[in-house]
């Protein structure tokens, strides 16, 4: 499949008064058309910032993309003008935000909001936009969409709002949808429905998906490939299978151990990853995971590991050969 997105050595930093927060520190990954990629990691590990950087939505100040390249269909998004980026936003790359409760405008009807990206990019009228909005709401399984497009967001439940956000994202037939923890604010049954819906729709439209999540169950089921992030870097990448069945980075192993499993004995204790994620304004030299790692050696404290191939496309950034 042709390559859609190529991120190389992306560095995004936030400048506080007396410190620099390296939120994303040299992230590289590829994404093919129609593929689903999961970015996994704890809160504050740079997942969302990576996603925001792709669309150049980092608020500046205080944030800034200080280095790297983001090729989208061969074009470096970091080199084009603001107007050109605006053409891509919502049109070629759509974003679904974390909080459906707050990411819809409370003063506009759902229909108008779904229609808006199409008005902006395809130059259609509100009338036609509303018709499309109705179709799209039907697509995301909202009953009676012809009436619901006149509703305001507060008349929708959380799950319905997130569906409306997805409908909004699909409007212009984007090549890529970035979903930033799309199910975090929803309850479990709705989560499953929504992810199923997203998977079906992206498959139907051939849309690539970057799924940002900290839910490893989600990853296993819906992602083709997985990037595990820690402290602004990718520490392990591979197919969902490889990450699950054969994790090689101590952090990935720790994450997997901390997920409850239904087939476990009731009395089995979960093993959390001990300690806290590092303060990104003062990441220690050497491996960022070193203070929390059970396998750490002297070398880990001094030298920062780089991604190296395990097998095929499976890569890890760790000095130790953990099995």
């Amino acid at each position: 499949m042709p390559q859609l997105l190529k991120v190389r050595n992306l560095q995004t930093q936030f400048f506080a008064r007396d410190s620099i927060v390296k939120a994303v520190d040299g992230v590289s990954f590829d994404l093919n058309e129609g593929e689903t990629l999961a970015l996994v990691g704890e809160s504050g590990c740079g997942k969302s910032v990576t996603a925001m950087s792709i669309l150049r939505l980092i608020p500046n100040p205080p944030g800034k993309i200080v280095g790297g390249e983001i090729f989208f269909q061969g074009r470096d998004l970091l080199k084009i003008s603001e107007d050109e980026v605006r053409d891509i936003r919502g049109n070629d790359i759509a974003m679904v935000f974390q909080e459906p409760m707050t990411s819809l405008n409370p003063s506009l009807t759902i229909g108008r909001q779904i229609s808006e990206p199409m008005e902006v990019h395809k130059g259609i009228t509100l009338k036609k936009g509303l018709l499309r909005a109705k179709d799209l709401l039907g697509k995301v399984n909202i009953a009676a969409p012809e009436r619901r497009i006149h509703d305001y967001p507060h008349q929708f439940s959380g799950g319905m709002r997130q569906r409306a956000m997805i409908a909004m994202g699909l409007g212009c037939n984007p090549k890529l949808i970035i979903a930033d923890e799309p199910t975090t604010a929803l309850d479990v049954t709705v989560q499953a429905q929504l992810l199923e819906l997203m998977k079906n729709l992206t498959r139907e439209y051939g849309t690539a998906l970057i799924l940002i999540t900290h839910n490893l169950g989600v990853v296993a089921r819906y992602a083709d490939r997985v990037n595990v992030m820690y402290a602004g870097r990718i520490v392990e990448k591979g197919t969902a299978h490889e990450i699950y069945d054969d994790p090689r980075h101590p952090y990935t192993i720790g994450l997997l151990k901390s997920v409850p499993q239904l087939d476990q004995d009731v009395k089995t204790r979960l093993v959390p990853v001990r300690g806290q994620p590092p303060d990104l304004s003062k990441v220690p030299e050497g491996c960022a995971f070193y203070p929390r790692c059970d396998f750490a050696t002297e070398r880990c404290r001094k030298e920062s590991p780089v991604l190296e191939t395990v097998s095929g496309n499976h890569e890890k950034a760790c000095w130790i050969d953990v099995k």
Partner: protein
């Protein structure tokens, strides 16, 4: 009723918009997606119309949910109609003197009596309504436009620009409003349009603070970021995403300002700096004849004062109700003071 009904022969234009404006490389994929959509549309190609038009809905809800607000609305309506049809309604001219009938108490011929020059008070009150309507609406509209313009740009752009603009606003607000008004009137001379422009600027600059604050808190919302993420331009974000969400303070500013402007005009006229005699300004009537003959003929002060009080009260409660009804976030009876849900 306004029609929100949408009918489109929609199968014909569907494919065209999907392929419009896309590059040739993506052409086939979009077309395929469009056709896949088409197959699922089925026979139902229309959108159900909204139950009622927006304006009709507003007035029905006003009477049903906000009876007090509706009462205010009626007062406002009466004021408007009185202003518009003053020529028809007034039994005498506003400056028609009748030296024989000076300072008459209210009677059947002169329902509100006559003033010291024998002019019919009712006619003067009616013509005064016209003046108040013109001054009130024009100055308030001007001031709201100024407030929104300064407030939204300053609040949205932020940073240094905001800092400079706000220091200018500070500088302006240091001077007491009345002193500013008096200075301007004495420089430019009294007259209706001078008053309108001065009051418009005066209230406009002061009110911009409120709009700026509302803009700053609104722009931090996630949906503004979401609007950014769909590629909306800055003007579009301002007009479609910021403005509707700061409508509540704008309406409140507008309605409270109408009352304040009418009062300010009355104040200026009371001080002799307003619209010059013989124009029948309520404030002027209070100050001139009303004060001089207060003991001898109290109706000269009573009726203009009553007119002012009733109008200001009516405008305020109507504005409050309108704010509650127009803000979609408050829909469903929240914030209702009528006790009804």
């Amino acid at each position: 009723m306004r029609e929100n009904f949408v009918t489109v022969d929609h199968n014909s234009d569907k494919g065209s918009f999907m392929t419009d404006g896309t590059t040739s490389a993506t052409h086939s994929r979009d077309a395929a997606a469009a056709s896949s959509l088409q197959t699922e549309e089925g026979p139902n190609n229309t959108v159900v119309p909204k139950a009622r038009g927006f304006t009709a809905d507003f007035f029905i809800r006003l009477f049903r949910e906000k009876p007090l607000g509706a009462f205010g609305g009626i007062i406002v309506l009466i004021l408007l109609l009185t202003g518009i049809f003053a020529d028809v309604l007034a039994p005498f001219g506003f400056n028609e003197m009748s030296p024989l009938n000076r300072l008459k108490m209210p009677s059947l011929e002169h329902l509100m009596g006559t003033d010291q020059l024998g002019r019919d008070m009712l006619s003067r009150i009616i013509y005064g309504a016209r003046l108040s309507v013109i001054v009130g609406l024009a100055a308030t509209t001007l001031s709201t436009i100024i407030s929104v313009f300064i407030g939204v740009t300053s609040g949205f752009i932020g940073g240094k620009f905001d800092m400079y603009i706000q220091r200018l606003v500070d500088a302006w607000m240091i001077f007491p409003a009345l002193v500013m008004l008096i200075v301007f009137v004495s420089v430019f001379g009294p007259g209706m349009w001078t008053i309108i422009i001065i009051l418009g600027i005066q209230y406009g600059i002061g009110g911009s603070r409120i709009i700026r604050g509302a803009t700053m808190s609104t722009k931090e919302n996630m949906y503004i970021r979401a609007a950014d993420s769909i590629g909306a331009s800055v003007p579009r974000i301002l007009v479609r995403h910021i403005l509707p969400n700061i409508m509540a303070p704008i309406i409140v500013i507008f309605t409270t300002r109408i009352a304040a402007v009418i009062l300010s005009e009355a104040t200026l006229s009371f001080l002799g700096l307003g619209i010059p005699a013989p124009a029948p300004s309520w404030g002027g009537m209070l100050s001139g004849a009303g004060r001089a003959f207060m003991l001898k003929a109290p109706h000269l002060a009573l009726f203009p004062g009553l007119a002012l009080t009733i109008v200001v009260y009516g405008v305020n409660i109507f504005g409050d109700a309108a704010r509650d009804l127009l803000d979609p976030r408050l829909r469903g009876g929240l914030g209702s003071y009528s006790g009804k849900k």
